[in-house]
């Protein structure tokens, strides 16, 4: 019993409860709302736009800052959904960058391709 008290005391003294967001994203979560997420080929990604217009989504290698691909698309106000294909992309950690027609960054996150 003494042992149990001792263990509980250690836990309470060394660990405190925290509430932090979970860094994962599914197709039902805004991909830019988390710092990074693992993605699969053909996965639907979702994000919000404040206004409609021409945007680009860029995928690049953050280690050498080299762009791998960039898609131009017409975005609509509110929720937008796109399919992400990964077969032609290198495996590992890449950045996903959303920019408006002026090449101003709207959002950025990390995607991990397995």
């Amino acid at each position: 019993m003494k042992k149990l008290y001792l263990i509980l005391t250690i836990i309470i003294s060394s660990c405190t409860k925290m509430d932090l967001p979970e860094p994962t994203a599914s197709s039902s979560v805004n991909i830019f709302s988390v710092t990074q997420s693992e993605v699969n080929d053909g996965q639907e990604i979702m994000f919000d736009l404040k206004s409609e217009g021409t945007y680009t989504l860029t995928i690049g290698n953050s280690e050498n800052n080299q762009v791998i691909t960039r898609e131009k698309f017409t975005g609509k106000t509110g929720q937008n959904k796109l399919i992400l294909y990964t077969k032609s992309l290198p495996k590992g950690s890449l950045y996903l960058l959303l920019e408006d027609s002026n090449r101003s960054t709207v959002n950025k996150t990390i995607i991990i391709i397995k």
């Binding site: 080299q66 762009v67 791998i68 032609s88």
Partner: protein, 767 residues
């Protein structure tokens, strides 16, 4: 002027030019012997005042092997280590001078178990807040600020140290567990182990071992998977309160417990994904190693030099032997080549000797069974004729005689000439047999000058026959990770720069008018550019290179490694010049033959690698003219093609109607770009290639080839008469094979290349 030199030296020192660790050559230690000299590691190029972190490690040594530093003046042992005593690893800090003094006092103690004694030394400027594990070559960074498990896991992935992405620490051995215990002051440390996906199925959650299942039941030892490291406290894990994540140093002790995610605990970030410290690719981190042996063991160790732009660790090797005109492997298990290009195949050697023939021993005393014609000029220069009476051969076939010992006058190889069953067997001896003719032989009383004219000598002798034997011919065969990766590698080896350079060399003094005629500076370049292997570099070769670039026809009929790679002993490679390259071995091969009949047990082979078509030697070993020790200085850096000149390019994809388009554009900046090459990968399960439209100035040769999973596209102005400008655009059209609404990730740029008018390779920055 002095001031300038001082400034330059300070600047160079600040930038850390020339930092390295050099290693001694291999040697054999005596078994069960203490304090054997293992000096020879030397740090150089570091600032004299910097505090360096240095690791000395024995990598998987034979039982009973340790080392000791007899001099440790000025050194401080890293946490968890002491300076004195026998060790298998030691991490210290100190100045370069103090560490070098200590390394000069390095001694090895051996036990009775024979085997390899691999010593590895690594050095870097001491990074505050990081701990180095000399056994696996990883760095660890303790984070004292508490976090939930999932936050710790995510935060770890966002960090980078010395060019390596971090991950929440994994603990895969008692050794690593002890390392964390000894080096991290906090208790209850998150590490990457979870059963969040399936209760009680504990799975490694980060790093190179991610996804490895180590335990399938809760309870201290229940369901522990054999071969996987588990170290749970009594009764743990028990999932008491939805505990899905693991901590080590539970309660300050040395064991593990499971906790719920919302607890805020310290954690450790690990950097490095390799097992062997030699494979480390940290930036500004320098390492070298040597493999000695404990006891006399026949060894074969290789140092492969691939140049700077090839990842050595993607190659593996197998030992082969050549028997009955066939090469066959001695093992089914390939050995990895380390990041330093090293591999030890000692344990794969076939050490059984084969009979190579017979050796007659001609000893003084007896009948005249043998004659010689010393210095038989009618047979050739420097040779003698030997005759042996056929009655002495017994069952020995005279054609199988390959060596002979003639009294004290000669002991060496002979060449069979002929024999007469009722007369003599005749051999050619590559010696003039001076001792037979000048009277200095101690067997002079058995030597008779037959005709008095010094041309015919008889030996009163007895003859016995010894069987001769030798190790089989060996070879080391290289292989690459897989064919797809090899195709990608070769695509980057033979690229537009190589083709342009070949054209430029060929057109010297012609097309540009003011050229002196020497674009190639090395015989290796000629050899690699002579892609039809006929010993002449001419327009037929440039045509083939162009066909390869444009996808009309590959340089080789087959794309296996053996048709692409060229292997040379370092000495032979360094001896290839612009004048002798035509007469040298020039063919591709992935198997390098080597002999064990060297008269020594410790065999180290230095092999240089180059490639058919690698005209600019971007992926080839550099030739050296000065002698370099077999353990030449190598430093670990991130492998990038170090091209100083840069141009810009961009890609954009879109879907319009029922077509998908990729546009690749160019901004040459200040460069006169005469060649470009882009590999555009595409998802062929969704897209079908249709065509390429080129928008280029002047009349370059534009090329575009569909390779099934990628399109090879670019331009070449082979005479350098014009250059590409920023209106250059390649528009690649695909048709979707099923309905799609967007293109994100369907296409992506892989390898790139560009070359300017001067033949300089350019870095293509995609932005």
């Amino acid at each position: 002027m002095k001031k300038l030199l001082v400034i330059l030296l300070l600047f160079a020192s600040f930038l850390g030019f020339g930092q390295s660790v050099s290693a001694p050559d291999s040697k054999s230690f005596l078994q069960s012997t203490t304090a054997q000299d293992a000096s020879g590691f030397v740090l150089s190029g570091f600032s004299a005042t910097s505090t360096l972190l240095t690791s000395i490690s024995l990598v998987n040594p034979p039982s009973g092997t340790t080392f000791v530093l007899n001099t440790t003046t000025g050194l401080t042992a890293a946490s968890g280590f002491t300076l004195s005593g026998n060790k298998t690893r030691l991490v210290v800090t100190g100045t370069m001078a103090d560490i070098n003094t200590a390394l000069q006092s390095l001694k090895v103690n051996t036990g009775s178990v024979k085997g390899n004694v691999a010593l590895s030394v690594a050095a870097t400027v001491n990074p505050t807040g990081y701990f180095y594990n000399g056994v696996n070559g990883h760095f660890y960074r303790p984070i004292a600020t508490g976090a939930t498990y999932t936050a710790a896991r995510a935060a770890s992935l966002l960090t980078t140290f010395k060019g390596q992405k971090g991950y929440l620490v994994t603990i895969t051995s008692a050794d690593e567990d002890a390392f964390i215990f000894n080096n991290v002051p906090q208790g209850n440390i998150w590490f990457a182990l979870t059963d969040e996906v399936s209760e009680a199925r504990w799975t490694i959650d980060a790093g190179p071992e991610k996804g490895t299942l180590i335990k399938i039941n809760n309870g201290q030892t229940n369901g522990n998977i054999p071969g996987q490291y588990n170290n749970w406290a009594g009764g743990e894990p028990n999932n008491s309160g939805d505990e899905d994540y693991a901590v080590t140093k539970w309660g300050g002790g040395s064991q593990w417990n499971d906790l719920p995610n919302h607890f805020s605990c310290a954690y450790v970030i690990e950097y490095g994904t390799w097992i062997n410290p030699d494979d480390a690719t940290f930036t500004e981190f320098y390492t070298n190693s040597v493999t000695h042996s404990n006891g006399e063991v026949l060894t074969a160790r290789f140092n492969f030099d691939f140049g700077g732009n090839v990842d050595e660790t993607k190659f593996s090797s197998k030992a082969n032997t050549y028997v009955n005109n066939l090469w066959s492997t001695t093992t089914n298990s390939p050995r990895s080549i380390s990041g330093l290009g090293k591999v030890d195949i000692t344990n794969d050697l076939d050490t059984a000797k084969i009979n190579t023939g017979y050796k007659p021993i001609i000893a003084g005393g007896g009948s005249e069974w043998s004659y010689v014609n010393p210095n038989a000029t009618w047979m050739g220069t420097g040779v003698s004729r030997l005759l042996i009476d056929m009655r002495q051969f017994g069952n020995v076939d005279p054609t199988t005689v390959t060596k002979v010992k003639i009294l004290d006058a000669y002991d060496g190889p002979v060449n069979y000439l002929s024999h007469d069953a009722n007369g003599w067997a005749q051999y050619s001896v590559p010696s003039i047999l001076t001792k037979v003719t000048d009277g200095t032989s101690s067997f002079n009383q058995y030597i008779r000058n037959v005709n008095g004219s010094n041309t015919d000598y008889a030996f009163a002798c007895s003859i016995s026959f010894e069987q001769t034997s030798a190790f089989k011919q060996h070879g080391i065969e290289l292989s690459y990770t897989n064919q797809t990766d090899l195709n990608t590698l070769y695509n980057s080896i033979v690229s537009v720069t190589d083709v342009y350079l070949a054209f430029k060399e060929l057109s010297n003094g012609g097309l540009f008018g003011n050229e002196s005629g020497n674009e190639f500076t090395s015989g290796i370049q000629f050899m690699n550019a002579d892609v039809d292997d006929n010993g002449i570099f001419n327009e037929a070769d440039t045509y083939k290179l162009l066909q390869h670039l444009t996808g009309v026809q590959s340089l080789t009929e087959y794309s296996a490694l053996t048709y692409l790679m060229k292997l040379y002993g370092k000495t032979d490679y360094d001896a290839i010049t612009k004048s002798n390259w035509k007469t040298q071995f020039k063919f591709t091969r992935s198997l390098f033959p080597f002999s064990l009949n060297t008269g020594t047990l410790n065999n180290t082979y230095n092999v240089n690698v180059t490639w058919k078509g690698d005209v600019n030697l971007s992926h080839s070993a550099q030739q050296t003219v000065s002698s370099v020790a077999s353990n030449s200085i190598r430093t670990m850096t991130v492998r990038t093609n170090s091209v100083p000149n840069e141009i810009n390019s961009s890609i954009i994809t879109e879907i319009i109607g029922d077509k998908v388009y990729a546009y690749i554009t160019l901004d040459p900046l200040q460069q006169e770009v005469v060649g470009t090459q882009f590999q555009l990968n595409y998802d062929n399960s969704i897209l079908r290639f249709e065509k390429i439209d080129f928008k280029t100035k002047g009349n370059p040769m534009n090329y575009g080839t569909n390779k099934g999973t990628y399109v090879n596209v670019g331009s070449l102005i082979s005479d350098g008469s014009t250059s590409l400008d920023n209106t250059t655009e390649y528009k690649i059209t695909f048709a979707p094979t099923r309905k799609i609404t967007n293109t994100l990730g369907l296409m992506g740029i892989g390898t790139t290349d560009a070359v300017n008018k001067a033949g300089k390779q350019l870095n293509v920055k995609i932005n």
